[in-house]
Symmetry: C2
C-alpha cells in the first residue's frame, strides 16, 4: 500500500476529510514530491510547497515552477516563482492553492500540521480543523516496501561515504576539505546534489566535544575522528557514524573504547525487535555499554525517513512500542576528554522478529 | 544605523507597532541571528525561528536550543528542541513565543510576513495586522555598512571558489566531484559549512541548457563549463559565475562569445548608477550583448543579501529605481546549442555615482 492510501485510511480513522501538508518531509512522505531544501525556503516560492490528500486517496501538490514535473498519481499545480519578468510569488502561490482546492473539491474537516501551516493558507481552508501531528508521526514511523527500498539506497550512499572517509582523512587536510571529499563521493554515487546533515570532527578535543560543527581544523596524524554522515537521496535520508584514527593504529585505550561502542551496536542489532518498548531498548544499550565503563549523554538513536530525525527518538522516557518495519538509527558512543570521541551508528530495519542493518561499513 | 533601528523607523512609517518575522532571511536581516538552513527546516524546531522588533527598536528572537547563543542587542528565548528525553517541540516553541510576547509587551498592530507566518503563531499575536512584505523588501535592498562588509566577505569567498574552479576541473572528474572540491575551498576559507546555491555544468550540451542540476557527468578535455557559485557566509550570500574550458584553450567561436558576455559585464559596471530604472538598465545590457549577436533568456541579475535572490530582480518590466548601496548581481550570458554556455556574473555595489565589483576573478 502506498503512503497516499495509508494516509487516506488514517484520515478516516481520525475523522478528517483532507490532510493539508506543509512541511517538506510530509509532502514527500505523502506524495513522493521532493521539495528542494538545501538552501532553505526557496526564494522562488510564495509559501510552503503544499500537499492535499483526501480520505478517498485523491492527492494534489502546489509547488513553484522551479520544482514542478514530479507528480505521479497526483494532481500538480505549479505557479510562476521564477520567470524573466516581475513575479509576485505569494499571490501566485495563493491563487494556485485556490485553484487546487476547487479542482479537488476540498470541503469538510481538514487535518493540518501545527508547525508549518501558514496563516495565509489557513485562511483559504474550510474552517473545521484537526491537528494531524501525532497521528502522522506514528504513520511515518512504519515504512512501506518502497520506503525500505529508498532508505536502503540512502543507507548505501552513507556507507559508501564512510568507506571513503578513512582513506581521504590525511594529515594537513582540513575537516571541511575531507567532509566535502566524502560528500563528492556520495553525491556522485547518488548522481545529484544531496542535502547533508552530520559532522566530521578530528582531534582529541574536538572529537570528544558534542555540538561542534566541522571547521578549518587541520587533521594531524593520530587524530581520532568522529565522522557522522547523513545524506538525503531522493527525499529519504541515510545516516551513519564511524570513528577511526588518522594515518595510525588506534592506541590500546582508544581501541578498547571503540570496541566497546561497536560491540554495543552489535548487541543492539541482536536485541532490537518488535514488541520491545523504546525506553527498555534504550536502557539495555546504556547498561550494556556501562559494563565496559563507557556512556553517552545523548539519545541512543532515532527514527529516520523523509526527515533525518523522526519519531520515535530512542530516549529513556519514550514509552512507544517498537514495531515491524520501523527504521531506527542506533548510535552508542563515548566521549572522553584526553582520549577522544567514538560513535558507532547503523541504520536498522526492524523485521518481524528482530532487526537487520541496512548497510554496514 | 543598524537594521533593527531601520526596521523600527519603517514600522513607524507604515503605522505598525511590531514586526513579527518568520523567514530565515528576515530574522537574520533584522537581528543578525543566523538560522541554520542547509538541511531545510530543523527537525528540532517546533515552528519558524521568529524575530520580534518594535517601533522603539526593541528586538527578540525565539529559537530552538540547537541554534541559541547568537543574540547581540536582542532578547533571546531558546526552547528545548533537542534533548535526551521526549520533547514536544511545537508546545515548547509556542510557550517560548508566549513568554517573549509578554516579556517584550507586544501589543498594538503587528506587521507580518505572508509567506511564512504560521497559523499557530498568528493565534498568539494581537489581532491588528499589516503585511510587511513590500516595505521590507525595499528596506532590505539598501545595505548598511555592516552588510556591505559581510557581503564583500561572501563575494570574496565566492571569488576564491571561482579561482579554484578552473584549476581542479580535470577530465575524468565528475561535475559533483569538482563542485565539492570548490566547496571545500570556500568552506575552509569561511571556516564553516556554508549553504551553497548555484550550478556546475560541463560539456557543450549541458552548459548550454538552462535549469539542469550538477550531476555525475564526467568532464572531458575541451568541455565548456558554466560555474555558478553562491555560498552563504555568516547569513549573507555571495554569488558569482564564470565560464571556461576544461584543459584546453577556448575555440575562436567560444572565445568570441565569452568575450562578448564579459565585455557586457564590464559595460554593466560602467553603466550601473543610482537614478537609473531597473528596466532601462536591463535593456541596456540586452541591447549591448545583442550587438555582438548574443542573448540570454533569463533575468539580467538580482538583488542579494540574507536571501540569494532579493528584490529588485533585473527584468524587463521592473520599474524600480536603482539606489545607492544596493548590491546587485549582474549576469549576462549566452547559451548556444552545439557551442556551449557562458555566463559572467559579478556582485556589484551601487555607489553614489556608479558601481564597483565587490570581488573579481
Amino acid at each position: 500500500m502506498d503512503n497516499t492510501t495509508r494516509l487516506a485510511e488514517m484520515l478516516a480513522e481520525i475523522g478528517a476529510d483532507w490532510a493539508i501538508l506543509t512541511s517538506p518531509d510530509s509532502v514527500c512522505f505523502a506524495t513522493g514530491h521532493v521539495v528542494p531544501i538545501e538552501i532553505g525556503p526557496s526564494p522562488f516560492s510564495g509559501g510552503p510547497t503544499t500537499a492535499f490528500v483526501s480520505r478517498d486517496g485523491v492527492a494534489g501538490v502546489v509547488c513553484p515552477n522551479t520544482d514542478a514535473g514530479q507528480a505521479i498519481d497526483c494532481e500538480e499545480i505549479s505557479y510562476a516563482g521564477f520567470a524573466c519578468s516581475v513575479v509576485d510569488q505569494v499571490s501566485n502561490y495563493l491563487a494556485a492553492v485556490k485553484t487546487m482546492l476547487e479542482k479537488l473539491g476540498v470541503v469538510g474537516r481538514v487535518a493540518v500540521e501545527t508547525a508549518s501551516l501558514t496563516a495565509a493558507l489557513a485562511d483559504l481552508l474550510p474552517a473545521e480543523r484537526s491537528v494531524i501531528d501525532d497521528s502522522l508521526k506514528r504513520l511515518k514511523a512504519i515504512k512501506t516496501t518502497r520506503e525500505i527500498g529508498l532508505l536502503t539506497r540512502s543507507a548505501e550512499v552513507a556507507a559508501l561515504g564512510q568507506k571513503e572517509a578513512a582513506g581521504i582523512s590525511i594529515s594537513g587536510r582540513t575537516e571541511l576539505d575531507v567532509l566535502n571529499g566524502i560528500r563528492a563521493r556520495m553525491e556522485t554515487e547518488a548522481g545529484t546534489r544531496c542535502a547533508l546533515a552530520g559532522e566530521f570532527l578530528a582531534g582529541i578535543e574536538r572529537s570528544s566535544t558534542l555540538g561542534l560543527m566541522p571547521g578549518a581544523y587541520e587533521l594531524q596524524k593520530g587524530d581520532p575522528v568522529v565522522c557522522d554522515l547523513a545524506p538525503r537521496v531522493q527525499g529519504y535520508w541515510g545516516d551513519s557514524c564511524s570513528s577511526f584514527v588518522v594515518e595510525a593504529e588506534k592506541s590500546d585505550e582508544f581501541a578498547k573504547m571503540h570496541q566497546a561502542c561497536f560491540e554495543t551496536l552489535q548487541f543492539a542489532i541482536s536485541e532490537l525487535r518488535p514488541g520491545l518498548k523504546v525506553c527498555d531498548f534504550d536502557k539495555l544499550l546504556r547498561n550494556h555499554l556501562k559494563e565496559y565503563g563507557y556512556s553517552y549523554p545523548h539519545h541512543s538513536g532515532h527514527g529516520i525517513g523523509t526527515s533525518v530525525h523522526e519519531w520515535p527518538r530512542l530516549v529513556p522516557d519514550e514509552a512507544a512500542m517498537i514495531e515491524e518495519n520501523m527504521v531506527l538509527m542506533v548510535e552508542p558512543g563515548s566521549y572522553v576528554p584526553g582520549l577522544g570521541g567514538v560513535r558507532c551508528e547503523f541504520m536498522l530495519r526492524v523485521t518481524n522478529s528482530g532487526a537487520v542493518p541496512m548497510a554496514t561499513f
